[in-house]
Amino acid sequence: MPRERYRDRDENLYATVDAYHLVENLEHCLQCGKCAGICPVASLSPSYNPRQIISDVLSGSTSRWLKSEEIWRCFWCAGCYTLCPVDIHFPLLMMQLRYLAVASLHGLKYIVPFKRFALRAREDGLTFAPGSAKGRERIMGIRGGIGLTPWPEVSEKAREEYRALFDMTGSTEYLDRIREEEDRPLELTYLEGRITGV
């Protein structure tokens, strides 16, 4: 593995990443590895390691995580946060890393599948509505059969306001701008120099 030069690192990376001030205690990290020990993804993907990602952020390095496949693998099970002896909320860090990646057009392929789904949710005021007519019929049948309204009651007012909030906060625009064609390629960047295959 080639030697990495520290002068190429960004001292302010942590502040940039934690734009929403959700993970203010990152420097408390002891690199103890309890997070990686419990992480279900780490036990499946050889190159995914939450502890190493924290280390990269603290030392100002973007060379790996920004264009990595790895940051898109976190399940948000929060096993790491549950066990962390200094209460670092790693999933919230992950969420913010993903926004930065998307801003530089990395990882769009993992958001494109949700684009139509999200735009539909914006109309319904509900998420998870079946996409097909058959699906809708089926669930309405089941609901009616057990004494519920065929479709969950969400008022017209609620749906209007939900839609308006999406528009006002720029979320609709954010979704519209996500285009598959612009997606930059990702790599398993943390695999370099690592032992793989046990």
Binding site: W76, M95, L126, P152, L165
Partner: protein
């Protein structure tokens, strides 16, 4: 050790409320509507009235964590939904770990960052809403544990001999502070299972995540989520689990609907039905299975229902 982590249920609920706001779960309503019925039936038998509101929208948390939108909209949506509850002067009860986790986290962010609270309130003010942070957010599993003795008294159909593997899910225990357990070795679901007359099974991967949150069930289904679920479900099967309970319709989708695909991919025999803990409680309390919507389940409940003589 700064803040208090574990709270015992009597501290959490010094008195039992007469009316609660039941927060509609999208996954619940559109995947397992029987869960909503079960929750309402159980609350009713415990003397608690559940109010729902058509003006309530989705909590928006799932798509937020899928990075499909930015926090600003979810903060505003949370503030709007919770202000509805506050207008009724009630506390918010969810029956989905997802709704619970997102409402708790987003309201926490607003309570600790005045700028975000201001932004959210500015957006929703045009419709006359205002969020103050007064309504407390609970998950019905907490109330089931609080009133477990009452539930025990109302069991008319003890689920004797049924081997139940519990699935806590992640987003309730992930709150870490001010909840019933710190997640190291939770047992409060197993205690309820025992009170219902069934036998809890502590299978090896009991505390493993369902893998479906934040959309990974779609984006990484074959790569990580299926091998992951395979580990969990085979661990349950090998320990003799006959039924898995969840407290999150999202987890229910993962554990239930993925089994046939795992069966095909790994050639494994996996047929463990997965239902909500509230549905199990409702069954034990005598609610007829027809009202509990098991038709929505992918893995059928017949073997279990037959075993229980239903």
């Amino acid at each position: 050790m700064s803040r208090q982590r574990v709270v015992n249920p009597e501290e959490k609920f010094p008195t039992v409320p007469g009316t609660v706001f039941l927060f509609r779960s999208c996954t619940g309503s559109l995947e397992y509507p029987g869960t909503e019925n079960a929750v309402k039936e159980t609350l009713a038998s415990l003397g608690i009235q559940a109010l729902m509101d058509p003006d309530q929208t989705c909590c928006s948390g799932y798509l937020l964590t899928c990075s499909a939108h930015k926090p600003e909209v979810s903060l505003a949506i949370t503030a709007r939904n919770l202000s509805l509850v506050e207008k009724k002067d009630l506390d918010t009860y969810t029956f989905c770990n997802g709704c619970y986790g997102y409402l708790s986290e987003l309201s926490h962010i607003m309570m600790h960052n005045p700028a975000y609270l201001q932004m959210a309130n500015d957006l929703i003010a045009r419709w006359g809403y205002r969020y103050e942070g007064k309504t407390r957010i609970y998950h019905v599993q907490e109330m089931w544990y609080r009133l477990r003795e009452t539930i025990g008294e109302k069991v008319v159909r003890p689920l004797s001999g049924l081997k139940v593997g519990v699935h806590y899910g992640c987003h309730y225990l992930a709150k870490q502070y001010g909840i019933l357990d710190d997640g190291g070795y939770p047992t409060f679901h197993e205690e309820i299972v025992e009170i219902l007359g069934a036998t809890p099974v502590f299978y090896k991967e009991r505390q493993l995540c369902c893998g479906y949150a934040v959309g990974r069930g779609f984006t990484h289904r074959e790569e990580t989520v299926q091998p992951h679920l395979f580990k969990k479900l085979t661990s349950a099967r090998d320990a003799g689990v006959e039924l898995i309970t969840t407290v999150c319709p999202g987890c229910n989708v993962a554990l239930d609907r993925e089994q046939p695909h795992l069966g095909k991919r790994y050639g494994a025999d996996l047929k463990i039905p997965v239902i909500d803990l509230s549905q199990l409680i409702a069954l034990a309390m005598g609610v007829p299975p027809q009202k509990l919507g098991f038709e929505a389940n992918t893995i059928p409940l017949d073997v279990v229902l037959k075993k229980l003589g239903l």
